[in-house]
Amino acid sequence: MPTIVVEVMPKAELLDPQGKAVAGALARLGLSTPDKTGAAFTDVRIGKRFEVTVEGEVTDAVLAEVRRLADDVFSNSVIEDVVSITVLDAVAAA
């Protein structure tokens, strides 16, 4: 059965305390300054991924319904953005 993946992130301008706590841990591990690879991990933001299993064919109408669910239920537009809606086909999802 097809799976529709919805990804939701806290709005960029808002404080993401979860991400901030994880970024703090990376800093304490010494990863926020360039290491021998030259990379520095300076920020982390944490969002949500919803995998919705659909019975039947994913039509435009079904996608529109998922779009509505993503906006009204999976996310709160005051604090979050829906960043992507993608369809995994049955084979890829298996």
């Binding site: 806290p10 404080l15 305390p17 706590a21 709160n76 005051v78 604090i79």
Partner: protein, 231 residues
């Protein structure tokens, strides 16, 4: 006056809210989230707790409950509705009041006796207070940080929809120290601290004159009852 208190899976303070209604002289009516029946109540309280374990977003799943259809219709028709803590989050998720809540800025659960300033004493739930009056009631939350976009903050500040503001300390990082808000009509009020825990001497917050003597929360419930009686 019959005041309904809705119990959701994970509600904690529904019985305290019922008790507060009784202490204020009203008749509490237990309402169940799974029904479409307000049982003829004249006001509604959405109590505190952790409905559905705060899954998805605090208050989000509860705001989709069967009874919320009736609560939203009643609120839009002018019935007094009070959302406390988790109930405040439900009101925001149901879009009955502006804004939203996120995790406390310091990431931790907090419990303290909190001083608030009453910024709007003309709502159905605050008419017994004086504008600018400072009250002390308990606060206890994890997702208590009230936020909204700049335009919304400017609008609710300008329209007097900020009902309560934190005094002394901002316990959770809420914008503009906002502790509670009301809708345009003034019948729907949501706040993060708990008036129902400050309604009976001996069981309230500590006050300068005596320990556990704070009953500032009782005025929320007497306000709504007195306003209904005077109509």
């Amino acid at each position: 006056m019959r005041v309904g208190v809705v119990t959701f899976p994970g509600s904690l303070d529904d019985r305290d809210a019922q008790r507060a209604v009784r202490l204020a002289g009203g008749e509490p009516v237990a309402l169940w989230h799974g029904q479409h029946d307000l049982q003829g109540v004249e006001a509604i309280i959405l109590p505190g707790g952790f409905s559905y374990g705060d899954y998805l977003r605090a208050g989000a799943i509860a705001s989709l409950s069967p009874i919320m259809t009736e609560v939203v219709d009643a609120a839009k028709a002018g019935m007094p509705v009070l959302g406390i803590c988790n109930g405040f989050q439900m009101l925001a998720e149901a879009r009955l009041i502006p804004g939203a809540h996120t995790r406390n800025a310091h990431q931790q659960f907090i419990r303290r006796d909190q001083v608030l300033r009453v910024e709007n004493a003309s709502t159905d739930w605050t008419s017994g207070f004086a504008e600018g009056q400072e009250i002390t009631i308990p606060l206890k939350n994890a997702d208590g940080r009230f936020i909204a976009d700049a335009e919304t903050i400017a609008r609710i500040e300008g329209e007097g929809q900020v009902a309560f503001r934190y005094v002394g300390v901002n316990p959770n990082g809420s914008m503009d120290d906002i502790a509670g808000v009301t809708n345009e009509r003034g019948n729907v009020v949501g706040l993060m601290p708990h008036p129902e825990h400050a309604t009976e001497p001996g069981f309230g917050p500590d006050m300068p004159d005596a320990m556990s003597s704070g009953v500032d929360g009782l005025t929320f419930f007497t306000s709504v009852i007195e306003r209904a009686l005077s109509k």
